[in-house]
């Protein structure tokens, strides 16, 4: 689904990502661990093609297509969806309108989707205007529900979320990732292979209690240092901290 090869990225002339190699196969959910400032969000912004993140070396391939220099909207149309940690407020644009935009010309039942996220009361509010941390997460996921991307990039989906909401957020992410795999009319025996993938950024790892991860990776000082079972990594980070953790990979 997503392949990153020898990726180097600069911001304002400073190298932020030094040599990133990563592969997320179809249907897999990967967790990206790393301390603050390690380059996790920069990697996500680079995958999405945001300005200011200059690729100086390497290649990003999505669904077999080289997207390294593709405009942002084409990446979105190709099937990459992002949940931002701190999205901007857009004055005058109602939340229900941006959800419709995310549908990309497909008919979307905004009210029904909002109901599932307990977000109906926010549809007539300006996008992200005075939203709390948890409300921002729900707004972002609501937009992704309308977009139905094949690859989800989730930046700290649990940060600023209260315990009650984190269950809802976990359920929604699972629903987004498993969507399309069940065919109830044919019965459970016809469960198809998972088709949706995700890269979930976290530095606390709390989200692992709510979603199922296939693999974990550690980004430290702009380099992917470790790639193995996500829960194992989390356990080591909790026990030894990032500095010790990355020593093991050297």
């Amino acid at each position: 689904m997503l392949q990153i090869e020898e990726l180097k990225v600069e911001i304002g002339g400073k190298e932020i990502l030094q040599n990133v190699n990563m592969e997320i196969p179809k249907g897999e959910t990967h967790i990206l661990f790393g301390p603050n400032g390690s380059g996790k969000t920069s990697l996500m912004m680079t995958i999405m093609g945001f300005s200011g993140y200059n690729v100086t070396h390497g290649k990003i391939t999505f669904k077999g297509e080289d997207i390294t220099y593709m405009p942002i909207h084409e990446r979105a149309q190709l099937g990459i969806g992002v949940s931002f940690q701190r999205p901007p407020t857009i004055n005058g644009l109602k939340t229900k309108n941006i959800v419709e935009i995310c549908g990309m010309n497909r008919s979307v039942d905004v009210n029904e989707l909002a109901k599932q996220l307990d977000f109906s009361d926010f549809l007539d509010r300006d996008v992200n205007h005075n939203f709390s941390g948890g409300e921002i997460k729900r707004s972002e996921l609501l937009q992704l529900m309308a977009q139905e991307p094949d690859l989800l990039l989730l930046d700290e989906p649990e940060s600023g979320v209260d315990l009650e909401s984190i269950v809802l957020i976990g359920d929604t992410i699972n629903s987004l990732l498993h969507k399309g795999i069940k065919f109830p009319r044919r019965g459970l025996s016809h469960i198809a292979a998972r088709t949706k993938s995700a890269l979930v950024i976290t530095h606390t790892g709390h989200i692992l209690d709510y979603i199922t991860a296939d693999k974990g990776q550690v980004l430290y000082e702009g380099i992917v240092r470790c790639s193995r079972n996500a829960r194992e990594i989390l356990k080591w980070i909790r026990e030894y901290g990032y500095e010790e953790c990355v020593l093991c990979s050297n």
Binding site: S51, I72, H73, P88, G92, L93
Partner: protein
């Protein structure tokens, strides 16, 4: 008394003609010439007069149509009103002085009608009344004098559009407006301008609001205009009176908009809010806002936001003056270009860059205008979309 804080600009009154031929009166709006009717539509006039409590149309110096459909609402030309109501002399030229500037003087010397609209005590109009002041004659200088009185406990919504005939080379519009909002009354005033590129516009408006009265004023100018300079002033004189002023302005190349609002909070418990949104794309916008707190216990807020697309000047001039302790006044002003983060955020949702910019601009201009009829809201949304073609 009306005070002019701004230089009136370099309009030379002698460049214009002050006489115009009389136009025929139309009993029904459907009898109005098609080309004119189309211009009326653009500024919010409903030609079918559906969901309107009355209509007043003036072309050059002639009242060409006037009708009220609701008891308790008076609507007529100002000269007829003066004949009918001797007491009107207590209202005319009482808020605005004829000597305020050369435009008010000219209106006094050479008046060209204008409207008189009054809601009787306790009358709550079920639908807005509409008016249109229209210039058809080239180089004509139109001087109207309007008086609006919302009597005690009444509610009145006026939608007024101002426009010119297509292909008018030049013109000048001067509108002296004196509004009186009595105790417990509510006046909503929505003004939509669609002047020509070489038309100069000088409205002169002063409003007085009594105890518990409310004035809501919405001003929308999305189409090219030569120069526009206005600074409506509102005096909140009675306890608990409220004023809310919204303006939505677009200035393309060659347009000069100097638009402000001044609100004097002179009684306890009065509240005021000024919200201005301006986009310049090669033109000039000077957005002024002036809140003056004279007594304790007042609350006022001013918000002025401007976007510069391409070139142009956007100048925000917010002013707050508190004369005593216990006033609560604030302002927020921002001028800049569209935030790249907003554009890219929308692109991450699948819009290309142009679509993302258009969506942000539409949102920016989308000030929620209280009480706007749905069909007019749709027209405005369309006008905002169309105005983007000129901006991009």
């Amino acid at each position: 008394m009306f005070e002019l804080d701004n230089k009136p600009g370099d309009v030379n009154l002698e460049d214009y003609e002050t006489d115009a031929e009389n136009h025929n009166y139309a009993e029904e709006l459907s009898e109005i010439e098609a080309a004119d009717a189309e211009q009326f539509l653009n500024v919010g006039v409903d030609i079918q007069e559906i969901r309107r409590s009355g209509t007043f149309i003036q072309k050059d110096s002639s009242v060409v149509h006037c009708k009220t459909c609701q008891d308790g609402i008076e609507m007529m030309g100002i000269s007829q009103a003066m004949e009918q109501h001797g007491w009107l002399e207590n209202y005319i030229w009482k808020n605005v002085s004829p000597d305020a500037d050369k435009f008010t003087s000219r209106t006094k010397e050479k008046p060209h009608e204008g409207y008189f609209i009054r809601s009787l005590p306790g009358m709550k109009a079920s639908h807005p009344v509409q008016s249109c002041l229209y210039i058809a004659k080239n180089k004509f200088s139109q001087h109207v004098h309007n008086v609006v009185i919302a009597e005690e406990g009444s509610e009145l919504h006026i939608i007024t559009g101002c426009a010119t005939a297509p292909h008018l080379d030049s013109g000048l519009h001067v509108g002296v407006s004196e509004f009186y909002v009595k105790k417990g009354a509510k006046l909503m005033f929505t003004m939509i301008h669609d002047w020509g590129e070489n038309v100069n516009v000088r409205p002169r408006t002063v409003t007085r609001v009594e105890e518990g009265g409310v004035i809501v004023s919405n001003y929308i100018s999305l189409r090219p205009v030569g120069s526009l300079q206005m600074y409506p002033t509102t005096y909140l004189e009675g306890e608990g009176a409220v004023a809310r002023f919204n303006s939505v302005l677009v200035a393309g190349k060659g347009s000069h908009l100097d638009v402000g609002s001044k609100i004097v909070l002179g009684a306890p418990g009065t509240r005021a809010e000024i919200i201005s949104r301006g986009i310049t794309s090669g033109g000039t916008i000077i957005a002024r806002g002036n809140l003056i707190g004279k007594v304790a216990g007042i609350k006022a807020h001013l918000e002025c936001k401007g976007l510069i697309l391409n070139d142009g000047l956007m100048r925000a001039i917010p002013e707050l003056s508190g004369y005593v302790p216990g006033v609560e006044m604030s302002h927020e002003a921002a001028v800049g270009k569209i935030d790249q983060r907003e554009i890219e955020y929308l692109m991450a949702r699948g819009l290309d860059e142009d679509e993302a910019v258009s969506t942000i601009v539409r949102g920016f201009l989308n000030v929620d205008i209280e009480g706007l009829p749905a069909n007019l809201k749709e027209k405005l949304d369309k006008a905002i979309s169309e105005s983007q073609k000129d901006m991009m």
